[in-house]
């Protein structure tokens, strides 16, 4: 099993959700984040003073999947989040050793979905 963590542009979340849905990946967790990457981004102005917004608003998505789902999950995220512009984001895949469904105590691959 893998834990897939992706950082995307906030306004792309709905598209990504849509794509994941189409790929039958229904279970995700989302958090708010600030990201700093290649994208230097717009600069806000506040009373005429530039704010180096080198920390831009991002959305962090976490998805635990079985190994056979990894590819399609990545594809779905890219399909939803890709614009070709700097700032599109990253996907990180880390090993997931165990999953437990709190409600049923089920563990392993059955507990993921």
């Amino acid at each position: 099993m893998k834990l897939i963590t992706a950082y995307i542009q906030p306004h792309k979340l709905n598209d990504v959700k849509q794509k994941l849905f189409e790929a039958e990946i229904y279970k995700i967790s989302v958090t708010n984040a600030l990201g700093c990457g290649q994208q230097m981004g717009y600069t806000e102005k506040f009373r005429g003073v530039d704010i180096e917004v080198n920390l831009l608003k991002k959305i962090r998505i976490e998805i635990a999947v079985n190994d056979d789902f990894v590819k399609k999950t990545i594809k779905a995220i890219i399909d939803g989040a890709h614009t070709g512009e700097i700032g599109d984001g990253k996907i990180f895949i880390t090993p997931l050793e165990e999953v437990v469904r709190i409600r049923t105590n089920e563990t392993g691959t059955v507990a993921i979905g």
Partner: protein, 451 residues
């Protein structure tokens, strides 16, 4: 002997007469006319200030009921529609509204407050009281076009409504020589003049702009309306309280007379109308949606206020309650109708609150006006009168609807034609604050602003 008699008489008379004269000299008495001038000056400036504060109320309601990513834009709109509107009303609006009437259709003098010295003091007072009403009509629209209109085009709209559209409609009804005024059209504080004008402009704006991205989605053939919840209902509620507060200046100030004995009556009908509106909307939403809906209830209070604005002077407290109740029910039905049936996207319900309830309030005069209270016009249908007044009211409603739809329609369509009306898809997704103003309303707060 006679001499003495005379002397006595003179002395006697002097005693009777002189004191009066003397006192009359040292301490001159106040005439009713002087007094009315003085009280009216105080009353209209205080009431006008309350109406001004309604700008804050509208700003809070609109910002609270929309998404955080567009907050700054809405605040700028509410601040600037007053600022540019006031300058426009100074230059053109006032003249068109209260200048010498050309056939009852529009005014033709007093542009740029070009006013003779002897009328100066009172005209200044009246201009101030009127400009805040003009601003109210203008700002009603900002909620309906929120989250997608370009800031620049909103400013252009603001100038038009404050300089021309509102003043001309106002001339018809509130200028003594206005063609509706002479017909006996009764709109005491502006259900039609202010609220319907704003409401219809909001309608036109919302239609021409089209809905916000993702507001109406087609799911297997059927169009579904999605909700975009407001980001701060606390401020929205604060806005409702501020509006209600300001409404006492709006309605009671419309006596235009600080010595009026009717000010109390108006405060009462205003209070009861608003309360009844809130109660009715709350109950209906409770039955319909299973839970008492906060934004419907708040709209209900505003609906009650708009509904009682025209009849506030002429109806009894009991009628005020009935009018408010119906207003509260109307607003819920209307919001649902525009959203679910017509699919016209009005983020804050401005069309329903101000347009629809403005009409209802205006017609209510024709139904509930007390024979002994209505000065301009005749008793209402349910109060022993006939349908005459109702007819006149309906005529006014229709005329104003036509005028606003045509003129504002032209403005918005023109702006659309030159591609200046609406922000781009991406700007709308990211929010107008970043793109239109380069600002973040709640810096540092973690917000799912894409929602």
């Amino acid at each position: 002997m006679k001499k003495r008699a005379l002397t006595v008489l003179v002395v006697l008379l002097s005693l009777m007469v002189f004191p009066a004269i003397v006192s009359a000299q040292e301490a001159e008495y106040v005439t009713k006319a002087d007094l009315d001038g003085i009280t009216t000056m105080l009353w209209l400036v205080v009431a006008g200030a309350l109406v001004f504060l309604m700008q804050a109320g509208f700003a809070m309601v609109e910002v609270g009921l929309t998404r955080s990513k567009n907050a700054v834009n809405i605040l700028m709109k509410n601040l600037m529609d007053f600022a540019v509107g006031a300058l426009a009303f100074f230059a053109v609006g006032w003249g068109l509204m209260y200048g010498a009437s050309s056939g009852g259709w529009f005014g033709t003098s007093e542009f740029f407050l070009n006013i003779p010295t002897e009328e100066w003091a009172n005209k200044m007072r009246d201009w101030f009281f009127q400009v805040v009403f003009a601003a109210t009509a203008a700002t009603i629209v900002s909620g309906a076009v929120a989250e997608r209109i370009k800031f620049g085009s909103y400013l252009i709209y603001s100038v038009f409504i404050s300089a021309i559209v509102y003043p001309v409609a106002g001339h018809w009804i509130w200028n003594a020589e206005g063609f509706l005024a002479v017909k006996g059209f009764h709109d005491f504080a502006g259900s039609t003049v202010v609220h319907s004008v704003g409401g219809w402009a909001a309608l036109v704006g919302a239609v021409v702009l089209g809905p916000r991205l993702g507001k109406y989605v087609k799911v297997d053939g059927k169009i579904i309306s999605k909700a975009f919840p407001g980001h701060n209902l606390t401020l929205a509620a604060l806005g409702v309280f501020i509006l209600w507060f300001g409404w006492y200046g709006f309605n009671a100030g419309s006596t235009l007379n600080g010595s009026s004995a009717d000010i109390g009556h108006i405060a009462v009908t205003t209070t009861l109308g608003a309360s009844a509106g809130a109660v009715a909307a709350m109950i209906l939403s409770w039955i319909w949606f299973k839970k008492p809906d906060v934004s419907m209830t708040m709209n209900g209070a505003l609906a009650g206020l708009v509904s009682i604005t025209a009849p506030t002077f002429a109806v009894s407290p009991t009628s005020a309650i009935i009018i408010g109740l119906i207003g509260g029910i109307l607003v819920v039905l209307s919001v649902e109708f525009f959203d679910k049936v017509l699919h016209i996207d009005d983020p804050v319900g401005a069309i329903s609150v101000h347009g629809i309830c403005g009409v209802w309030g205006t017609l209510a005069v024709g139904l509930f006006a007390e024979p002994d209270r209505i000065r301009q016009g005749t008793a209402g249908l349910f109060m022993g009168g006939d349908a005459t007044q109702l007819g006149v009211q309906a005529l006014g409603v229709g005329m104003v609807f036509g005028w606003v739809v045509v003129t504002m329609g032209a403005v918005f369509l023109l702006l659309k034609a030159v591609k200046f009306l609406r922000v781009s898809k991406k700007e709308e997704q990211q929010g107008l604050d970043i793109n239109e103003h380069g600002a973040d309303a709640y810096h540092g707060f973690q917000i799912f602003s894409n929602m």
